[in-house]
């Protein structure tokens, strides 16, 4: 017992000493002490690599040739990139993928959220079932969808043929269908995510608003347009922001499904970036491409966040 009392006294003395030292510091200084380590960490793992990548983008550096002299080549990497038809093709493929997945996922996700929000019997069960795809690994999803899409034995081709009489559909091997094959899978996998966020938005709308609208004899469309949509919109926009960024850098699912093919039809920007950086080892060139992508996402993201804030306010 005496030992414990001594220990407690000692601890109190130490904490008093620290407290007296801190008492002499300003609030700003104390704040810096707390956030300093985080800032240092951010500088080390975010800002420094970014600055280093910017530097590399102006050089001929190749990571697999460490002994090779690194030459400053000015804007040559950027000129090559912006003058390359292929790069514009990859960006177009990416834009096509991002835009269509967003459209499908918003429409279907919001629709599902409206349905689930009706709280019918078994709603929780169906919510869980709907959420399953987004719990799976993209690599696994990509692999099993290649089997589903198989033109001879896959169920997708069979179902489409059964209803539309199209014959065997080569979703992955056809230039016209391959971009849609990846959109369908991404929509299947990530619509539940949009649904979940929309559901959170729908559940946050107080009932009295609908009751007041009913008193004012607002019809269902008016209730949706003037109450539901504005209230859910910030949630929806947030979901679009998250999914948009994710899909802009989509990689694993598409690699498993199509490897970027046929030809370069589904070669998204991130897939090409990986090929340039870690297969061709053109580090300087791929750094320039990464910077272009970063600026694009950063710019679009900033504009979007400003719009989002306006909607919120």
């Amino acid at each position: 017992m005496p030992d414990e009392a001594q220990r407690a006294r000692r601890a109190l003395t130490v904490s008093n000493r620290i407290a007296s030292k801190l008492r002499g510091l300003s609030d700003t200084a104390i704040a810096w002490i707390f956030i300093g380590p985080t800032i240092l960490l951010l500088l080390a793992i975010n800002i420094f690599p970014l600055l280093w990548t910017i530097y590399l983008s102006f050089t001929n550096y190749r990571a697999n040739q460490p002994g090779r002299p690194v030459r400053w080549i000015g804007t040559r990497n950027y000129e090559r990139l912006l003058g390359s038809e292929d790069i514009w093709g990859y960006l177009q493929a990416t834009a096509h993928f991002v835009i269509w997945t967003m459209i499908f996922q918003i429409v279907i996700g919001f629709g599902l959220a409206l349905l689930i929000n009706r709280n019918f019997r078994g709603a929780s069960f169906w919510t869980t079932i709907i959420l399953i795809p987004m719990m799976l690994s993209p690599a696994v999803v990509g692999t099993f969808w290649t089997y589903i899409y198989q033109p001879q034995t896959g169920i997708f081709s069979y179902i489409v043929d059964f209803f539309a009489g199209t014959g065997a559909l080569d979703m992955i091997g056809s230039v016209a269908l391959a971009p849609w094959s990846i959109i369908i899978v991404d929509t299947w996998m990530w619509t539940p995510y949009i649904m979940l966020l929309c559901l959170a938005g729908l559940r946050s709308i107080p009932d009295y608003l609908y009751e007041a609208a009913e008193i004012d004899r607002a019809n269902a469309l008016q209730r949706f347009w003037y109450i539901t949509l504005p209230r859910v919109l910030p949630f929806l926009m947030l979901a679009v922001l998250f999914r948009g960024i994710e899909n802009f850098k989509m990689f694993d699912l598409v690699v498993e499904l199509t490897s970027g093919g046929p030809g370069s039809t589904t070669e998204l920007a991130s897939i090409n970036l990986k090929r340039e950086a870690f297969e061709k080892w053109r580090t300087g060139y791929s750094s320039a491409f990464a910077i272009i992508l970063f600026v694009t996402i950063f710019g679009l993201g900033n504009i979007y966040v400003k719009v989002l804030n306006k909607v919120k306010s």
Binding site: D170, G263, T265
Partner: protein, 439 residues
């Protein structure tokens, strides 16, 4: 008493740890692709362990990740592999960037002569710069691209009759690409035993090297060359010559007419699957898979036959196969060299062939009875006498990916013409060689 027990336990643990460490010191790791010949090598290497006491660990990676995984390992100076059976195209990078140990001195010391190995394999798997007597690998696994066909279907009277009526010749092993296409067209969509069959499973894979290996199997017989003069990097008129354009157009026409549905991203395993499941009458694949096919329960024995890559303007086959190198970053180079010394022995090479590996040793291949040792042995010898390989430059991966993109865009996606594809390929390769300081 308790103290004594504790001492005994600690002593035992120390000894166990020491013996474990010693065992690790006398073990080496061999890195290769995960496929049938690798299993044969595991079996073969048991003799090495038995005769030297050196344990063998194996790191096998599927072909789809093979280059990525092990080139990264080499580029990062990793110590995982003491021995590397790397692709023939890696030899330039392995030598130039110092990943592989130069073996000339060791060969001289141990009396290992490169004259004991098939010259084409020494040239392709061991030397850098090409054709000079600077050796960075011992030829380990000879390989080339060949063909397998359904011998049982080819010998059915009703099919033979129908074929003769349609093409005016007997249904048999095609002697050139035109005949191969006719044969594939004949089988495409044909009902055999109540199932729809297809012509030929050819390489169309986009991600690694598949379609390039398949396309070059047609381009080489048409007379495709990488350069106008070896070492000049002068590609205009060679890569996109009229013959090359014709060869590429032909490969596309074969893909369009005669491959099974959905065969747009297929390499070794996909071709094997298509063939073994009875989908196709013929498949292109590496000779390395032929022992497995010959022994297969369903398509082995008399069901399958083999033939060498057909000629067109010339006889030529796409080179596969690998040499075995000692990794320069290994801490156990002496043990790894010991393995090479053992592996180069004629009796070991004979057993290697018997187990399903493709020896490149003259004592095995030059044996008068060799052609009779397997149903594909004679074709293998014929193929190896006319093999051609892709660029083996240190930047080969960059050159390969450019070709993958250009030919896949044309053959599978149907974008542009063959002439445009090869013209663009020269543009890509020119930029790569300029960046590398070769142009």
């Amino acid at each position: 008493m308790r103290a004594k027990k504790l001492t005994a336990v600690a002593g035992g643990a120390f000894l166990a740890a020491m013996s474990g460490a010693q065992a690790q010191d006398s073990e080496i790791t061999l890195c290769w692709a995960a496929w049938d010949p690798a299993n044969a090598l595991v079996e073969l290497s048991k003799d090495f362990t038995a005769s030297t006491g050196i344990g063998m660990n194996f790191e096998f990676v599927p072909w789809t990740n093979f280059a990525d995984r092990f080139l990264n390992e080499l580029n990062s100076g990793g110590k995982l592999c003491d021995l590397m059976i790397g692709d023939s195209q890696w030899i330039g990078g392995g030598a130039t960037y110092g990943h592989y140990v130069q073996l000339n001195e060791f060969f001289d010391q141990e009396g290992i002569s490169m004259d004991d190995f098939l010259p084409a394999t020494v040239y392709a798997y061991s030397t850098w710069p090409k054709g000079t007597p600077n050796y960075y690998a011992l030829p380990a696994m000879g390989d080339a691209l060949g063909w397998v066909y359904r011998k049982d279907w080819f010998s059915r009277p009703e099919l033979r009759e129908a074929f003769k009526a349609e093409y005016g010749r007997d249904l048999g092993v095609p002697s050139n690409w035109q005949e191969l296409k006719e044969t594939a067209t004949f089988f495409q969509g044909r009902e055999i035993d109540g199932e729809t069959r297809y012509g030929a499973a050819i390489y169309t894979e986009r991600g690694s090297e598949g379609i390039t290996m398949g396309v070059t199997a047609a381009l080489y017989p048409w007379g495709f060359k990488y350069e106008n003069a070896p070492g000049s990097y002068d590609m205009e008129g060679a890569v996109n010559s009229a013959a090359s354009v014709e060869g590429l157009e032909f490969y596309k026409s074969l893909y369009d007419c005669c491959s099974p549905p959905g065969h747009s991203d297929a390499y070794m395993v996909a071709n094997l699957d298509a063939y073994k499941s009875g989908q196709v009458a013929m498949q292109m694949n590496w000779f390395a898979f032929f022992p497995g096919i010959a022994k297969d329960e369903v398509v082995g024995g008399d069901v399958s036959g083999f033939f060498v890559n057909p000629g067109q303007n010339i006889e030529a086959s796409t080179l596969g196969g690998q040499g075995i190198s000692v990794v320069a970053y290994s801490d156990k180079k002496d043990l790894a060299l010991e393995y090479l010394k053992w592996f180069a022995q004629p009796d070991v090479q004979a057993k290697w062939w018997a187990l399903g590996g493709y020896s490149c040793h003259q004592s095995v291949l030059g044996d008068p009875g060799f052609a009779e040792t397997a149903p594909f042995a004679a074709d293998f010898l014929k193929a190896m006498s006319g093999v051609q390989d892709f660029w083996q430059e240190p930047i080969y991966a960059e050159l390969l990916l450019a070709m993958q993109q250009r030919v896949h865009d044309y053959v599978v996606a149907g974008k542009g013409t063959a002439q445009e594809a090869l013209d663009k390929l020269i543009e890509d390769w020119t930029i790569s060689f300029e960046d590398d300081g070769k142009l």
